[in-house]
Each structure stands twice: as C-alpha cells, then as structure tokens.
Symmetry: C2
Subunit: 346 residues, 2 copies
C-alpha cells in the first residue's frame, strides 16, 4: 500500500525483527514498531498494534521465526511448542493466526532433527505465508472489482484494508482495484466503535488512495439504507465456517440484518487463510471479550458515567444466509459452496 507516497506492508521482517505499522497510532502518527521477541509480537497482537485477521496471521508467522531464532538447541521442539501456544493465545477469534502459526510450526518441525535448517525454513515459511496472503488479497481485488459500478454507494465496516492484511486489503482491495480501474463510487465508512478502526484506519487508507468517502457512526447505517443511499455492503471476516457463518468485527451482524431488510447485497471478502474448514458453524467460534475500558474510555480519558460497567464483545457471528457472496481469490462463491473451496491452508 502507498502511505505518504511510499510502498509499505503492514507486517514485514528485516534484520531479525518483525516490523509492524503501529495501527494504534494511525492516522495521527505513522510509526513502525519493531518486535525483537515472539513475546513482543504476541503483546502487539493483543494490544492491537497489529490487527486484522490476515495481518495478525503474518505477524504470528514471523513471531515463530523469532521463536525459532531464540529457541535452545537442547529444547528446540518444546520451545517451539511453547511459542506456538503463547502466540495462539494472543487473540482467539480470527482463524488466520491459528492457520499461519500451525503452517510455520509444521514446516519447522519437518526439518528436525536439523535445527539449523529448521531455523532457516522458519523464515522461508513465514515469507511464503505473507507473500501468499498479499497475492491472495490482490486477487480478491481483481475478482471483486467487477461488482463495483460507477455511481455506486458502498458501505464498509471496521478496517478490512491493507493495514489489516499485509497488503491490498480484503473489502478495501475490491475498492482499491475498482478505483485504479477508473470507477467512480462513494464509500460510507462506519466509524466502528469502540476502537474506531473505520474512522481512523479505513478513512486513512481511502484518503491515501484518493477514494471519495465520509465517516458515519455505526448507528447511521440503517438510516442511510432506508434513504436508498447504500447500494452495496462489503466487509472482511475473521473466521468463516463451513456452513457460511462468519465472525467479524462487532456490528457486522446488525449490518447484515439491515442490508437484508433493505434488499441490499452483502458481500464478505476474505483470503484463504480466513476460512476454517474445521469449524462447522458459527456457534463454534469463540468470541473475544475485550476490556470494559475500551468502551468507557477513549485515549485514556473517561467518556462514560464513572460508576457504570460495559460489555465488550469484539466480534459477532453472522449466519451464512445473510451473505450474498464471499469474494475470494478463486472467485465469488455462495455461502453454501464453501466446502468446495478446499483452501490451500488445509
């Protein structure tokens, strides 16, 4: 992605460090956070310095590289298992992290007992995951841009952009590619409380790309649908089950219900790493509950009634029946056809 005229990836590896665009500081400050241990990577995933299902997959993959570099020769296998569990625990809902970690871990273990080769292959495996994820997202853009017509008004939620996915984005890959092909459209950006990924990150990416947009509060989506001002909804996903149910940022389910009530097509764009063929249905997905302070405070300042508590589920689950189509690198597919995807992850 282009930021201030320069090409960037949200997650990369250089000189023995995992480099993350700090998404908590954007858009006010553009800063690269360097992690020198897998524990630092896990902390950065947990505190959302890096966020977005595919991006935390890539961060986790590189975290395994740091783990392999620092593992003891005597307890290499055990150390790798500990690192795997530690990184896996950093966030529970997005499956990309699990998929990436298991892939890199399996590649490392396959080299044993040659520890030097295992350390070498760790980086190769992580780079392969990351490059594949970026290319997958580019293809999502190619596939999905065909849905975008001139004069369309498109609603998106949270940040399903290049920041969330190494490069290109998922929902935003579609918009980015359509824009580069010269299509003229307008994007309604849900601000996405509590962490404002829409207002901060999606708006930032769209502005960098020169795409017309306006921020709205999450509560306005229904109103604009009612006024015939939304033609299409596109979101990303954090985990997609076999039956088409999927987890995504809290508020996605409400949007899907509203879109259906207004006969507005609802698309979900996702790379192969977001499909979880081991997960039959949405009920099986663990929903992360984050801290109350994310609701009651903003930038460290109390914004709610001091004596009140809050609930903070970070995701919700939308049944596949609400999805018009999943935009994937292999084409746009029906919720009922996920079984035939057979993603390369599996």
């Amino acid at each position: 992605m282009i930021i201030n005229g320069q090409e960037h990836r949200s997650v990369s590896f250089k000189d023995g460090k995992v480099l993350l665009i700090n998404q908590n500081k954007l858009p006010h400050t553009f800063e690269i956070t360097a992690c020198e241990s897998y524990q630092q990577v896990a902390a950065a995933i947990h505190d959302m310095t890096v966020r977005g299902a595919p991006a935390i997959g890539a961060a986790g993959a590189y975290g395994m590289v740091l783990a392999a570099m620092s593992a003891s020769d005597q307890n290499f296998s055990k150390d790798m298992e500990i690192a795997l569990a530690f990184l896996l625990a950093s966030r529970p809902t997005a499956v990309d992290l699990k998929n990436a970690l298991h892939q890199v871990h399996a590649d490392i273990i396959s080299c044993l007992p040659d520890i030097n080769k295992a350390k070498e292959i760790a980086l190769v495996s992580a780079e392969r995951f990351t490059d594949a994820s970026a290319e997958d997202c580019r293809l999502i853009g190619e596939v999905g841009q065909e849905l975008i017509k001139d004069e369309m008004n498109i609603l998106t939620h949270c940040n399903a952009g290049a920041l969330a996915t190494v490069d290109w984005g998922t929902a935003l890959a579609v918009l980015r590619m359509a824009h580069r092909k010269g299509k003229k459209f307008f994007v309604y950006v849900d601000e996405t409380r509590p962490r404002l990924q829409g207002a901060r990150l999606t708006a930032f990416e769209l502005q960098q790309e020169g795409i017309s947009h306006a921020i709205i509060t999450d509560s306005m989506a229904g109103h604009f649908m009612q006024q015939d001002r939304i033609d299409l909804v596109i979101t990303g996903a954090d985990r997609i089950c076999l039956n088409g149910d999927f987890a995504n940022k809290i508020g996605t389910y409400s949007l899907a219900v509203l879109a259906k009530a207004h006969n507005i097509p609802f698309y979900v764009a996702a790379p192969q790493s977001t499909f979880d063929l081991n997960c039959e249905k949405g009920n099986d997905i663990q929903i992360e509950e984050r801290s109350v302070e994310e609701i009651t405070h903003l930038n460290g300042k109390l914004i709610a009634n001091p004596g009140s508590t809050a609930f903070n589920p970070a995701f919700d689950v939308t049944p596949g029946a609400f999805v018009t189509g999943f935009i994937t690198c292999k084409g746009t597919i029906n919720p009922s056809d996920i079984r035939v995807l057979n993603p390369s992850m599996e």
Copy 2:
C-alpha cells in the same frame, strides 16, 4: 429526579433566570447553567446544554418568559414574534419545542393590549407546560411499568430520562417506576454516538436510581438480540406523526428493524407534547444535520482521520409499523390509533 440525594428538575425558573442542568458537563460535573435572556436559552438548546424533546420544550417555554420580560412596550407583539422565531430555530426536529413555544406565545398574545398581564401570564403558561410535562411523564411511568417483568433485559437508546423531560423521563420513567415497585430487571444502555447521551446520561440516571445496567456500543444491539439477551426495547421520541411514524435519535430506526427481525417488542414512550397531529407521516419531518466535528472530534480532540469528512444526521425516522405500542399518559396505544389521542396540545 434525585441527583446526589437532592430533588432536581432538568429545567426550572427562578429569580428571573432559566436554570438548566448542564447536560454537556454530566456526568463528570453537575452544574446548573443560568440563562438571563431568551437568546441564551436558544444557544443552550442549540449546543445541547439542555436536550431531550420535552426538556427543550420547557426551556423554550421559559425562554418566552424572558422574552416577554425584556420586550419593549412599544413593540411588544413584534418582539414576541421575533423571540418565537428565534427560539423555534434553535433545533428543528423535536415538536415539543414548537408546541411549547406556540402555547406560551398564544397565552401571552391573548392578554394584549394589557402588557403587564401578558408578562405575568407568560410565566403562568410556561409553568403550566412544565408541570404538565412532568406529570405526563410520571403517568407514562405508571402506565409503562406494567410491561416490565422480573428478570427482563431491556434495551434503551440515547437518554429518554428525567434529564430529557423536566422530570421522570419517558422510557426511563417506565424503568424508574418499575424499579420503585420492586421489580428486578437489567438495562442495556446504547452509548449513542456521537454525543454519548446513553453512556453519559442514561447510565448516570440509572446509577442514581440504583438500577442494574451496562453500557454497550450501538453496534452491539443486534448481537445481544441474536443471543436472546434482550426481551424488550423502549425508546423516547422527538416527534410522532399521525400515522405512527416517529423521529428519534439516530440509530433508533436500526434498533427497530433489528427488534422486528428478532421478534422483540419495541415500545416508544412519549408525553402529549411529542405528538404532532399536524404531521401526517415521517417523510414530513425535518431531520437536523449537526456539525461534522461531533463525529470527528471528542472533547475537542480529533479522533478520526484528519482529512476525512463525516455525515451527521441527528435523528432518523422509524415507520409506525415497527412500533409495538406508544406508552402515553393515557395508556399504551397502537400506532394506528394516534388519531384518537387528541393530545391536549392541539
């Protein structure tokens, strides 16, 4: 309402001043703002120092008293007309303001040419509106509390509390009265972006009253409905049309669609002053568009991408078909029966 152990009204009149609980400073600071001119009252309505349809009606009524006190003897009628227009322009959507202003204005004009009597009657008329509004809301509580059962989970949006209505509240009058009758229930409080009236004011009122509650982001309502954790939705209103369509805080329409999709009863509580028998249908309601900075900034600090704009409709319109019943001082009525209400305002 009880605040810190003392009885208060959100709007009152004392020693030639209109006294307003400053709702922009709550819950962090409890402060009474004193207005000494009708222009100050209009400014306080516009900047939401006082907010809530019935409360701005009462503030407007007292504003007319200040206008009558300061009007010139030579141009009394003309001055009153100017004041009426000025106060009317402070906020366009809630009909209570219009109803209150026209009522006090008519009472004043009916005394002419006796200007002294007109000035006297202004206060009598404003007090009558304010007392009637408070009593109306108390009755709403009596009527509505019958809907509340033990163990219920109730969702409310924005602040339809005592702060919004001189005293008691509308939606919150129902909860306040049910609580005082010993019923045990739980309230989900939509934070209500952009101005957080739920997180700040409703949570504050519920806490003062000792009612169990938790704040959620507006985007979570659908998720909790999907999980069968909401049994009932109650909101207030800013203007109710003859056909049952009503305007209320942005996000209400989304809630109504979600409630219908989950077969959850959706009630609207409102005093007589909120019914607009001159308004046939929702399309005729003017929706106030407020400043972009309410979305992009919080407490004066930029929270969104600096280069991005925002849309900020302050209200939306929900069709009557989504309303299970209107809770009024005269009983709970069907959306199709509003014509028979014949509110005292008319």
